[in-house]
Symmetry: C2
Subunit: 134 residues, 2 copies
Protein backbone atom coordinates (compact mmCIF):
# COMPACT_ATOMS: atom_id res chain seq x y z
CA UNK A 1 0.00 0.00 0.00
CA UNK A 2 1.32 3.39 -0.92
CA UNK A 3 1.80 6.20 1.58
CA UNK A 4 0.88 9.67 0.41
CA UNK A 5 3.60 12.31 0.26
CA UNK A 6 3.77 14.37 3.43
CA UNK A 7 3.62 18.06 2.75
CA UNK A 8 3.22 20.78 5.31
CA UNK A 9 -0.32 22.12 5.01
CA UNK A 10 -1.01 25.80 5.56
CA UNK A 11 -1.67 26.57 9.24
CA UNK A 12 -5.09 27.84 10.22
CA UNK A 13 -5.31 31.41 11.53
CA UNK A 14 -4.17 31.40 15.14
CA UNK A 15 -2.62 27.95 14.88
CA UNK A 16 0.82 27.55 16.36
CA UNK A 17 3.22 26.88 13.52
CA UNK A 18 5.09 23.69 14.25
CA UNK A 19 7.64 21.40 12.68
CA UNK A 20 5.04 18.63 12.35
CA UNK A 21 3.95 18.09 8.76
CA UNK A 22 0.66 16.69 7.55
CA UNK A 23 -0.81 15.57 4.23
CA UNK A 24 -3.18 18.13 2.76
CA UNK A 25 -6.87 17.27 2.53
CA UNK A 26 -6.70 16.41 -1.16
CA UNK A 27 -3.79 14.05 -0.53
CA UNK A 28 -5.71 11.81 1.88
CA UNK A 29 -6.11 8.29 0.53
CA UNK A 30 -8.86 5.93 1.59
CA UNK A 31 -6.62 2.87 1.79
CA UNK A 32 -4.11 4.73 4.00
CA UNK A 33 -6.85 6.03 6.27
CA UNK A 34 -8.35 2.54 6.63
CA UNK A 35 -4.90 1.14 7.38
CA UNK A 36 -4.37 3.78 10.06
CA UNK A 37 -7.70 2.79 11.60
CA UNK A 38 -7.00 -0.96 11.39
CA UNK A 39 -5.45 -1.29 14.83
CA UNK A 40 -7.27 -1.55 18.17
CA UNK A 41 -4.98 0.98 19.87
CA UNK A 42 -5.34 3.50 17.05
CA UNK A 43 -9.11 3.02 17.11
CA UNK A 44 -9.03 3.85 20.82
CA UNK A 45 -7.01 6.99 20.13
CA UNK A 46 -9.44 8.12 17.42
CA UNK A 47 -12.49 7.39 19.59
CA UNK A 48 -10.98 9.37 22.47
CA UNK A 49 -10.20 12.33 20.21
CA UNK A 50 -13.72 12.22 18.78
CA UNK A 51 -15.08 12.51 22.32
CA UNK A 52 -12.61 14.86 23.92
CA UNK A 53 -11.18 17.11 21.20
CA UNK A 54 -7.53 18.01 21.66
CA UNK A 55 -5.41 15.72 23.84
CA UNK A 56 -1.74 15.30 24.68
CA UNK A 57 0.02 12.08 23.63
CA UNK A 58 0.20 10.96 27.24
CA UNK A 59 -3.48 11.51 27.88
CA UNK A 60 -4.82 8.29 26.37
CA UNK A 61 -3.70 5.76 28.96
CA UNK A 62 -2.85 3.13 26.36
CA UNK A 63 -1.36 -0.17 27.59
CA UNK A 64 1.64 0.06 25.26
CA UNK A 65 5.18 1.42 25.48
CA UNK A 66 5.94 5.06 24.74
CA UNK A 67 7.72 4.15 21.50
CA UNK A 68 4.75 2.07 20.33
CA UNK A 69 2.47 4.94 21.22
CA UNK A 70 4.64 7.33 19.22
CA UNK A 71 4.46 4.94 16.26
CA UNK A 72 0.65 4.86 16.42
CA UNK A 73 0.44 8.67 16.43
CA UNK A 74 2.84 8.84 13.49
CA UNK A 75 0.74 6.39 11.46
CA UNK A 76 -2.43 8.35 12.23
CA UNK A 77 -0.79 11.69 11.40
CA UNK A 78 0.81 10.54 8.16
CA UNK A 79 -2.50 9.08 6.99
CA UNK A 80 -4.20 12.39 7.76
CA UNK A 81 -6.46 11.02 10.47
CA UNK A 82 -5.11 13.28 13.22
CA UNK A 83 -3.42 16.65 13.35
CA UNK A 84 -0.57 17.25 15.79
CA UNK A 85 0.64 20.66 16.88
CA UNK A 86 3.54 21.49 19.12
CA UNK A 87 2.74 23.55 22.19
CA UNK A 88 5.87 24.09 24.25
CA UNK A 89 7.25 20.65 25.05
CA UNK A 90 4.10 18.70 24.26
CA UNK A 91 2.24 17.60 21.15
CA UNK A 92 -1.47 18.19 21.08
CA UNK A 93 -3.54 15.81 18.97
CA UNK A 94 -6.89 16.36 17.32
CA UNK A 95 -9.06 14.39 14.90
CA UNK A 96 -9.13 15.81 11.36
CA UNK A 97 -12.85 15.20 11.23
CA UNK A 98 -13.65 17.98 8.74
CA UNK A 99 -10.97 16.85 6.29
CA UNK A 100 -11.97 13.20 6.59
CA UNK A 101 -15.66 14.02 6.22
CA UNK A 102 -14.97 16.14 3.16
CA UNK A 103 -12.99 13.38 1.46
CA UNK A 104 -14.81 10.28 2.73
CA UNK A 105 -18.31 11.27 3.88
CA UNK A 106 -19.69 9.14 6.67
CA UNK A 107 -16.59 7.00 7.05
CA UNK A 108 -15.31 8.18 10.44
CA UNK A 109 -18.82 8.16 11.90
CA UNK A 110 -19.37 4.60 10.64
CA UNK A 111 -16.03 3.40 12.01
CA UNK A 112 -16.60 5.02 15.41
CA UNK A 113 -20.12 3.66 15.53
CA UNK A 114 -18.89 0.20 14.51
CA UNK A 115 -16.19 0.30 17.17
CA UNK A 116 -18.70 1.28 19.83
CA UNK A 117 -21.22 -1.31 18.61
CA UNK A 118 -18.57 -4.03 18.50
CA UNK A 119 -17.56 -3.25 22.07
CA UNK A 120 -21.17 -3.34 23.22
CA UNK A 121 -21.88 -6.58 21.33
CA UNK A 122 -18.71 -8.34 22.35
CA UNK A 123 -19.04 -7.68 26.04
CA UNK A 124 -21.98 -10.01 26.77
CA UNK A 125 -21.34 -12.53 23.97
CA UNK A 126 -17.72 -13.33 24.50
CA UNK A 127 -17.65 -14.04 28.18
CA UNK A 128 -15.16 -16.84 28.50
CA UNK A 129 -14.03 -16.41 24.89
CA UNK A 130 -10.29 -16.95 24.78
CA UNK A 131 -9.63 -15.50 21.33
CA UNK A 132 -8.35 -12.01 20.60
CA UNK A 133 -10.84 -9.18 20.87
CA UNK A 134 -10.38 -5.94 18.94
CA UNK B 1 -2.94 -6.54 15.07
CA UNK B 2 -4.41 -9.86 15.99
CA UNK B 3 -6.03 -12.19 13.48
CA UNK B 4 -9.17 -13.97 14.61
CA UNK B 5 -9.14 -17.76 14.77
CA UNK B 6 -10.47 -19.32 11.58
CA UNK B 7 -13.20 -21.82 12.26
CA UNK B 8 -15.43 -23.44 9.70
CA UNK B 9 -18.85 -21.85 9.99
CA UNK B 10 -21.95 -23.93 9.44
CA UNK B 11 -22.94 -24.05 5.76
CA UNK B 12 -26.23 -22.48 4.77
CA UNK B 13 -28.94 -24.80 3.44
CA UNK B 14 -28.09 -25.63 -0.16
CA UNK B 15 -24.54 -24.33 0.13
CA UNK B 16 -21.84 -26.51 -1.33
CA UNK B 17 -19.69 -27.75 1.52
CA UNK B 18 -16.10 -26.91 0.78
CA UNK B 19 -12.68 -27.11 2.38
CA UNK B 20 -12.57 -23.31 2.66
CA UNK B 21 -12.99 -22.11 6.24
CA UNK B 22 -14.33 -18.77 7.40
CA UNK B 23 -14.59 -16.93 10.70
CA UNK B 24 -18.08 -17.00 12.12
CA UNK B 25 -20.05 -13.75 12.29
CA UNK B 26 -19.36 -13.26 16.00
CA UNK B 27 -15.63 -13.69 15.41
CA UNK B 28 -15.34 -10.76 13.00
CA UNK B 29 -13.10 -8.02 14.37
CA UNK B 30 -13.32 -4.40 13.29
CA UNK B 31 -9.56 -3.88 13.13
CA UNK B 32 -9.11 -6.99 10.96
CA UNK B 33 -11.93 -5.94 8.64
CA UNK B 34 -10.46 -2.44 8.28
CA UNK B 35 -7.05 -3.94 7.58
CA UNK B 36 -8.54 -6.18 4.89
CA UNK B 37 -10.12 -3.11 3.31
CA UNK B 38 -6.95 -1.00 3.56
CA UNK B 39 -5.59 -1.91 0.14
CA UNK B 40 -6.63 -0.44 -3.22
CA UNK B 41 -6.83 -3.85 -4.90
CA UNK B 42 -8.92 -5.33 -2.12
CA UNK B 43 -11.19 -2.28 -2.22
CA UNK B 44 -11.69 -2.96 -5.93
CA UNK B 45 -12.54 -6.58 -5.22
CA UNK B 46 -15.08 -5.62 -2.56
CA UNK B 47 -16.65 -2.94 -4.77
CA UNK B 48 -16.98 -5.41 -7.64
CA UNK B 49 -18.58 -8.03 -5.38
CA UNK B 50 -20.98 -5.41 -4.00
CA UNK B 51 -22.08 -4.66 -7.57
CA UNK B 52 -22.01 -8.09 -9.15
CA UNK B 53 -22.68 -10.66 -6.44
CA UNK B 54 -20.77 -13.90 -6.84
CA UNK B 55 -17.62 -13.84 -8.96
CA UNK B 56 -14.75 -16.19 -9.74
CA UNK B 57 -11.24 -15.20 -8.64
CA UNK B 58 -10.27 -14.57 -12.25
CA UNK B 59 -13.21 -12.30 -12.95
CA UNK B 60 -11.86 -9.10 -11.43
CA UNK B 61 -9.23 -8.14 -14.00
CA UNK B 62 -6.79 -6.91 -11.36
CA UNK B 63 -3.37 -5.70 -12.57
CA UNK B 64 -1.48 -8.00 -10.19
CA UNK B 65 0.02 -11.49 -10.36
CA UNK B 66 -2.08 -14.56 -9.65
CA UNK B 67 -0.23 -15.18 -6.38
CA UNK B 68 -0.83 -11.60 -5.23
CA UNK B 69 -4.45 -11.97 -6.17
CA UNK B 70 -4.69 -15.18 -4.16
CA UNK B 71 -3.14 -13.37 -1.19
CA UNK B 72 -5.73 -10.58 -1.40
CA UNK B 73 -8.61 -13.08 -1.43
CA UNK B 74 -7.10 -14.90 1.53
CA UNK B 75 -6.83 -11.67 3.56
CA UNK B 76 -10.43 -10.77 2.73
CA UNK B 77 -11.71 -14.27 3.56
CA UNK B 78 -9.79 -14.60 6.83
CA UNK B 79 -11.06 -11.20 7.96
CA UNK B 80 -14.62 -12.30 7.15
CA UNK B 81 -15.17 -9.72 4.41
CA UNK B 82 -15.82 -12.29 1.68
CA UNK B 83 -17.06 -15.86 1.53
CA UNK B 84 -15.47 -18.35 -0.85
CA UNK B 85 -17.06 -21.59 -1.95
CA UNK B 86 -15.59 -24.27 -4.13
CA UNK B 87 -17.58 -25.16 -7.24
CA UNK B 88 -15.77 -27.79 -9.25
CA UNK B 89 -12.34 -26.40 -10.01
CA UNK B 90 -13.14 -22.75 -9.26
CA UNK B 91 -13.68 -20.64 -6.18
CA UNK B 92 -16.70 -18.38 -6.16
CA UNK B 93 -16.45 -15.22 -4.06
CA UNK B 94 -19.21 -13.19 -2.48
CA UNK B 95 -19.35 -10.25 -0.08
CA UNK B 96 -20.47 -11.16 3.46
CA UNK B 97 -22.62 -8.06 3.53
CA UNK B 98 -25.20 -9.41 6.00
CA UNK B 99 -22.56 -10.54 8.49
CA UNK B 100 -20.63 -7.27 8.19
CA UNK B 101 -23.79 -5.20 8.51
CA UNK B 102 -24.88 -7.17 11.57
CA UNK B 103 -21.54 -6.66 13.30
CA UNK B 104 -20.58 -3.19 12.04
CA UNK B 105 -23.71 -1.37 10.84
CA UNK B 106 -23.11 1.08 8.03
CA UNK B 107 -19.40 0.35 7.71
CA UNK B 108 -19.32 -1.39 4.33
CA UNK B 109 -21.73 1.11 2.82
CA UNK B 110 -19.58 4.00 4.09
CA UNK B 111 -16.37 2.44 2.77
CA UNK B 112 -17.87 1.69 -0.64
CA UNK B 113 -19.36 5.17 -0.81
CA UNK B 114 -16.03 6.70 0.25
CA UNK B 115 -14.18 4.68 -2.37
CA UNK B 116 -16.59 5.77 -5.08
CA UNK B 117 -16.52 9.40 -3.89
CA UNK B 118 -12.73 9.41 -3.72
CA UNK B 119 -12.51 8.11 -7.26
CA UNK B 120 -14.95 10.77 -8.49
CA UNK B 121 -13.15 13.55 -6.58
CA UNK B 122 -9.65 12.51 -7.53
CA UNK B 123 -10.28 12.25 -11.23
CA UNK B 124 -10.64 15.97 -12.02
CA UNK B 125 -8.44 17.28 -9.19
CA UNK B 126 -5.34 15.23 -9.61
CA UNK B 127 -4.70 15.60 -13.32
CA UNK B 128 -0.96 15.73 -13.59
CA UNK B 129 -0.54 14.62 -9.98
CA UNK B 130 2.43 12.28 -9.84
CA UNK B 131 1.85 10.89 -6.37
CA UNK B 132 0.19 7.59 -5.52
CA UNK B 133 -3.56 7.44 -5.83
CA UNK B 134 -5.62 4.89 -3.94
Amino acid sequence: MSVPPINASAPSPGEIVSAVSHPAREQLELACVLHALSDPMRLRIVAALADDGEMTCGGFGLPVSKSTCTHHFKVLREAGVIRQRVDGTTRLNSLRRDDLEARFPGLVAAVLSAAAAANRTLAPQLTGHSGPVA
